[in-house]
């Protein structure tokens, strides 16, 4: 199976790899499962205006999973929480030209954004 140029670029030069210290303004999403071969951790630093200031990821998975998570960190930085919640897996899959067997990687990326934002909102409400 051949990978698209965009997947290879994100795999070889992943953006925003890393971890943030846990803090009230940081939301963490951990999605997927080791048994399924994919785990994504996405962290979002969100300011009081609800704007995502920074994003970091770490991913266990295939090249498409790594590329999907790298891509969404680029996409969410500068967006509001509401805008980020609107990112759909189809957009990720189309941008990276993922083949059908890799669509689940883009689904996981969308889940990671939602999970990280939910975690941030829970912290706010607590």
């Amino acid at each position: 199976m051949a990978y698209s140029k965009k997947v290879i670029d994100h795999y070889e030069n992943p953006r925003n790899v890393g971890s943030m210290q846990d803090a009230p303004d940081v939301g963490t999403g951990l999605v997927g499962a080791p048994a399924c071969g994919d785990v994504m951790k996405l962290q979002l630093k969100i300011n009081d205006q609800g704007v995502i200031e920074d994003a970091k990821f770490k991913t266990f998975g295939c090249g498409s999973a790594i590329a999907s998570s790298s891509l969404i960190t680029e996409w969410v930085i500068g967006k509001t929480v509401a805008e980020a919640m609107n990112i759909k897996n189809v957009e990720v899959a189309e941008y990276l030209e993922l083949p059908p067997v890799k669509i689940h990687c883009s689904v996981l990326a969308e889940d990671a954004i939602k999970s990280a934002i939910r975690n941030y909102q829970e912290k706010k409400e607590a």
Binding site: P34, T59, F60, A65
Partner: protein
């Protein structure tokens, strides 16, 4: 451009130039049909197939009349299992095999189950080997056939053929072994090992693709029902015109494999140990799948914990290796062989099969080890599971949402 290094010798092997050279005249010059019994073109072709048959027979200590040419090991395994089952179906109806067998053996057994046979799929021990006591306990008066592979294609472990053969003989059960991965790697002797049926493949031993062979014992005679209808070639067991050049290649390949085995085994052991030492010294938490003692030297199957296999393969794109990760197969399930060993499903996703062979050099394994170390280290730094493990979090304690 970086050189691509082939490390997938269990998938297939290149045709040895000596083999190819032996085959060449039989495409253009000696093109006769080996079954044309009444003219020189036919005689010349028949001479070649019979010489090849003798070479194959000699490589496993059999009689040439016991060798049936097939299209490959898949066909040989199908013919052995279904052929024997069909012939003896009025006498016995039970077959025993292993969970780690090749798909063509497992699927042949499945198809017999749908036709009323009972099949026992035995588990293996953590090292991938069959437990002889478990095997003996599974044998019933209804047991017709035991089919256990000689060398596993994923983990390279060598089953105790002689002990299995003796056990089967003492219970009056036929013993078939899929030896596609074994010829030229371990000594094969159908007499000493009391093997009744044995499958071989040309392209797994530096011969051409599209040919294999089935050994069928004559004394005491093993009968089987042909699975292909036709002109009754191959003593009625496998109809179809023999592919003369392929037969010649198979024969030549078998002879070379056996002749060069003693030195080749030592050479590959050296390369394997060099590779493994380099990997183990540089990366923690690398696990070897399958026995390291009962194993052919050309196979390594390693789990690089916390690094997914396909992700790893993308980082070592100049190395042709294979992964037990689900992502590399269409089934979305990780390797059933590793699962049968009791390898944790998460760890099965992180496995790589590295196959060394006749044309692998020291430089190849050193380059490969460097690339793997670099990629594994890079991907671990990117792995949330590695990060959690380093922080002392037990990843099995987390409730993952399996998708």
């Amino acid at each position: 451009m970086t050189k691509n290094i082939y490390l997938d010798y269990q998938a297939t092997t290149p045709c040895d130039p000596r083999v190819f050279k032996a085959m060449e005249p039989y495409f253009e010059v000696f093109y006769g049909n080996a079954h044309s019994r009444s003219h020189p073109h036919g005689w010349k072709a028949e001479e070649a197939t019979e010489r090849a048959r003798a070479q194959v027979a000699a490589s496993i200590h059999a009689d040439p009349r016991e060798i049936i040419f097939t299209s490959g090991a898949t066909e040989a395994n199908n013919l052995a299992i279904k052929g024997v089952a069909d012939f003896y179906r009025d006498q016995k109806n039970h077959i025993i095999t292993l969970k780690t067998e090749h798909k063509c053996v497992l699927e042949s057994c499945r198809s017999l189950e749908s036709r009323g046979f009972d099949v026992t799929y035995l588990p293996v021990q953590v090292d991938g080997l069959v437990d002889l006591k478990v095997l003996e306990a599974a044998i019933t008066p209804q047991t017709l056939l035991v089919s256990i592979m000689a060398v596993n294609n994923e983990i390279g472990v060598i089953q105790p053929l002689a002990a299995i053969g003796a056990l089967c003989r003492s219970h009056g059960v036929l013993f078939h072994t899929d030896a596609a991965q074994a010829l030229g790697k371990i000594p094969l002797d159908v007499e000493a090992m009391q093997i009744d049926l044995l499958s071989l493949s040309g392209h797994k031993m530096y011969g051409p693709k599209g040919i294999g062979a089935l050994y069928v014992r004559r004394k005491p005679r093993v009968r089987l029902t042909a699975q292909i209808s036709g002109g009754g070639q191959e003593r009625g067991m496998r109809s179809g015109t023999l592919p003369v050049p392929l037969c010649v290649g198979m024969g030549e390949a078998a002879q070379i494999a056996v002749e060069e085995m003693p030195s080749e085994v030592l050479r590959l052991e050296g390369l394997r140990d060099l590779f493994l030492e380099k990997i183990m010294a540089a990366i923690p938490e690398v696990y070897i799948n399958g026995s390291m003692t009962a194993r052919v030297p050309g196979n390594l199957n390693l789990s690089f914990a916390y690094v997914e296999g396909e992700g790893m393969m993308m980082g070592i794109k100049n190395l042709s290796v294979s992964s037990g990760s689900a992502c590399t197969s269409s089934s979305l399930e990780p390797s059933y062989v590793l699962r049968a060993l009791g390898v944790d499903v998460s760890l099965a996703h992180t496995s790589l099969r590295i196959g060394l062979g006749r044309f692998t050099t020291k430089e190849d394994v050193l380059t490969a080890a460097d690339a793997i170390i670099k990629s594994a280290t890079h991907l671990r730094n990117m792995s949330p599971l590695w990060e959690m493990a380093q922080a002392g979090i037990d990843i099995t304690s987390i409730r993952w949402a399996e998708h």
